[in-house]
């Protein structure tokens, strides 16, 4: 998510646009200051003293996940992959959230652990906690740095505001309200941000749908897109009418859908390992539920969060669908998703043409072409692989002249999918509404960043500082350390934002690293909660083994469409149709390796903890949660099942 707009697109704001953004900033700061007097202990500051009602933690839970990268990225995927993107919601989130609510929250909340790593310490041992807390702390800093970079860059390109000023102003606002009101003010502002995101993007969706002719019109246009996916440079073949509108219709075979993923990779890789790994163990979201004011509120937090989550595709994916429908349906809408710039001179092509013609296969020709047409400094140019393959094919068949080929190559830049949201704002929002939509972007950025920062300061203070550096200090001391960690965390993220600015594919690299770390950690949590025999040595070695398998897997597999960017594989064991399916398979293998190692080592090592010590930490040793007297909708088991049924219905309706 690096260069958001390669084509200069500057929007002038009017008075009201600035006023709306200003009012929003004043409100979130005001919430921080109003909560300051409630911050009496480190627990008030870092974990909200378990005082917040369920509907608030539920909306904060979803808002913390809805960072700027999510909003921009999901619209991008909506254009690139169509309705398949909803798998990230209806398969890749809802099921895991319900599982967290019913089966895992009782242990997180009931153990009275102050963080997810601390649960690992109670259940396993110090080293497992140490491993998890250090890797988590690093990931939160990198995550918030990347999203700060994304926002600062976007405002810079869209509005012409200075990058550094964007970075500093936005992060200082977040810093001030967290510094004053701790996790409580992060959670309260996340609720405000949630509503702003909804109200800010909804009119854009409304106007977009209106232009394409409502939902039916959108579907008709998307049928055209799927039928012409090759000509549009979206996929190597024409995938067929349903490809951008159906969730499951093209999932039988990985080469038949725009993600290049099979149903098995989708269900097990995304739906099971990655989704559960994120939603059930990532302290960033789990922390919101742990701040709830009662066990029942904690269990209901993820359930409440599933309701908006289920309908968010309308808000964040549909804009992407609208964009590709406008561009690709053949009707002249005058809309085009920005293309990244590539430069190929006639002289360049003169040198490459004979090589392309002499290549053994079309694939080899594309490779040669990419290699020879590197840009300044030897960096690869952002070509659209599909378009490139078509050009080489035509040239090799003798159907394209040198002049035509040069012209075609100069127009073969890859689509800048990350610009989808901003170009729709530019198309639909009059001043006023524009200020509101920009405020929604700011809000999504701040909620995502606050999530990272509050998770970081808690893990740093309790799991790293208190455990390893200064165990027996006063509570005031830890509260001050928490405040300091807030400032330091934000300063480090700002630093990392500048690093991210320097390296184009750092986002891809990080996503990969997150995948390396998350899948094995999920195996450790799962074994810890549901198998009393699992031991500390086993959890620790399982996490390490899973991470090593991830790295080996990554080093020895390639991606056919050439989207593997970081290292050339050593010797290839397998070649995947897309980077996404490579990621999903990696997650499955990594989880499998971690789970197998945990099982084997557990059976070989002695249990360190007795049944009595594991009470409240392991499923089989903990009394079931009963909800006597609670109405049906406040019982996670019942409402969770209803949510799952609705989710299945959505899958069937859009199948």
């Amino acid at each position: 998510m690096h260069h958001f707009l390669t084509v200069a697109l500057k929007i002038d704001l009017q008075f009201l646009d600035y006023a709306i953004m200003g009012i929003y900033v004043l409100f979130v700061l005001g919430i921080g200051f109003a909560l300051k007097r409630h911050m009496r202990s480190s627990e008030d500051f870092l974990i909200s003293g378990r005082s917040i009602p369920a509907w608030v933690t539920g909306l904060a839970f979803i808002s913390a996940n809805l960072g700027a990268l999510e909003v921009i990225g999901m619209a991008a995927s909506g254009a690139k992959y169509g309705m398949l993107t909803t798998h990230f919601y209806w398969i890749g989130a809802i099921v895991a959230m319900v599982f967290l609510a019913i089966f895992m929250m009782p242990f997180y909340y009931g153990s009275r652990a102050r963080s997810a790593p601390e649960y690992l310490k109670m259940r396993f041992d110090e080293k497992t906690r140490g491993l998890n807390s250090v890797s988590f702390a690093v990931m939160t800093i990198l995550g918030s740095g990347i999203s700060m970079h994304a926002l600062a860059d976007l405002l810079n390109k869209l509005l012409g505001w200075d990058y550094t000023v964007n970075l500093l102003v936005c992060s200082v606002v977040v810093m001030v309200y967290i510094f004053k009101g701790g996790l409580t003010s992060a959670i309260y502002t996340e609720v405000v941000q949630f509503f702003l995101i909804v109200f800010g993007f909804a009119p854009v969706v409304y106007l977009g749908l209106k232009e394409v002719g409502g939902w039916d019109g959108l579907v008709r246009r998307l049928h055209d897109v799927g039928a012409n996916s090759q000509a549009l440079g979206l996929w190597e073949t024409n995938l067929g009418e349903g490809a951008w509108t159906s969730m499951w219709g093209n999932m039988g075979d990985a080469s038949a859908n725009s993600m290049g993923v099979s149903w098995a990779g989708m269900v097990f890789g995304l739906g099971f390992v990655l989704a559960f790994g994120y939603w059930c163990t990532n302290f960033l979201v789990v922390q919101r539920a742990m701040a709830a004011n009662s066990m029942r509120a904690a269990r209901n937090t993820p359930i409440i969060a599933t309701i908006p989550k289920m309908f968010f595709p309308l808000l964040v994916i549909v804009p992407g669908l609208i964009a590709i429908a406008l561009e690709g349906s053949g009707k002249d809408s005058g809309f085009k998703i920005y293309q990244k710039e590539v430069v190929v001179s006639a002289a360049d092509w003169g040198k490459v043409e004979p090589l392309v013609k002499a290549a053994d296969s079309n694939g080899a020709a594309v490779k040669v072409l990419r290699e020879e047409l590197k840009g300044k400094g030897g960096a690869g140019q952002p070509f659209n692989s599909v378009v490139l393959a078509r050009i080489t094919q035509e040239v090799r068949a003798g159907r394209m002249s040198s002049g035509d080929a040069t012209a075609a190559l100069n127009n073969a830049g890859e689509r800048d999918y990350n610009s989808v949201i901003t170009s729709l704002l530019n198309r639909y929002c009059p001043s006023g509404l524009l200020g509101l939509a920009l405020t929604a972007l700011l809000a999504s950025f701040m909620s995502g960043m606050a999530g990272n920062v509050t998770a970081f300061n808690t893990v740093w203070t309790y799991d790293i500082y208190q455990s390893y550096f200064a165990p027996d200090k006063s509570d005031t001391h830890y509260m001050n350390v928490g405040r300091l960690a807030t400032v330091a965390g934000i300063a480090l993220s700002i630093g990392f934002a500048y690093v991210a600015r320097q390296f184009d594919n750092i986002m891809d690299l990080l996503q990969l690293v997150f995948g390396f770390v998350n899948a094995p950690i999920f195996a450790a949590f799962l074994a810890g909660m549901f198998w009393k025999r699992a031991t500390g040595h086993a959890a620790f070695s399982g996490v390490l083994a899973g991470t090593i398998v991830s790295a080996l897997f990554y080093a020895h597999t390639t991606v056919q469409d050439g989207s593997a960017w970081l290292v050339d594989s050593l010797n290839t064991w397998h070649s995947f149709p897309s980077a996404m399916t490579q990621n999903f398979s990696l997650a499955i293998f990594s989880f499998g390796a971690a789970a197998a190692t945990i099982a084997a080592v557990s059976l070989m090592t002695r249990r360190e903890k007795t049944d009595e010590e594991l009470k409240g930490l392991v499923y089989s040793l903990t009394p079931r949660q009963a909800d006597p007297g609670a109405p049906w909708y406040a019982r996670p088991a019942i409402s969770g099942i209803i949510i799952l049924l609705v989710c299945i219905a959505l899958n069937i309706y859009f199948a």
């Binding site: 929007i11 009017q14 009201l16 006023a19 709306i20 009012i23 929003y24 409100f27 005001g30 919430i31 109003a34 909560l35 409630h38 608030v56 309260y188 609720v191 405000v192 509503f195 109200f199 009119p203 106007l207 209106k210 232009e211 530019n426 198309r427 639909y428 929002c429 009059p430 001043s431 006023g432 509404l433 509101l436």
Partner: protein, 69 residues
């Protein structure tokens, strides 16, 4: 703190400003960039936000009264 109160205030204020902007001169500027659309979206969306804000304030008020009683 009841978070509904600040949310109510914020949306009432933003909704009011947006609606007024739509009613007064804002529309001319609106037509300049937006697609050929005849809806005064600022006005209508402003009203929707205003109503949402007022509803939040009302809920907060009811809750506060119940809390005292």
């Amino acid at each position: 703190m009841d978070i509904r109160k600040p949310i109510g205030l914020l949306f009432t204020l933003l909704g009011f400003l947006l609606a007024v902007w739509g009613l007064v001169g804002g529309e001319a500027a609106a037509k300049a960039r937006t697609i050929r659309d005849d809806v005064n979206i600022n006005l209508w969306w402003g009203i929707v936000m205003l109503l949402f804000g007022l509803a939040m304030l009302a809920l907060a008020r009811v809750a506060a009264k119940r809390g005292k009683a």
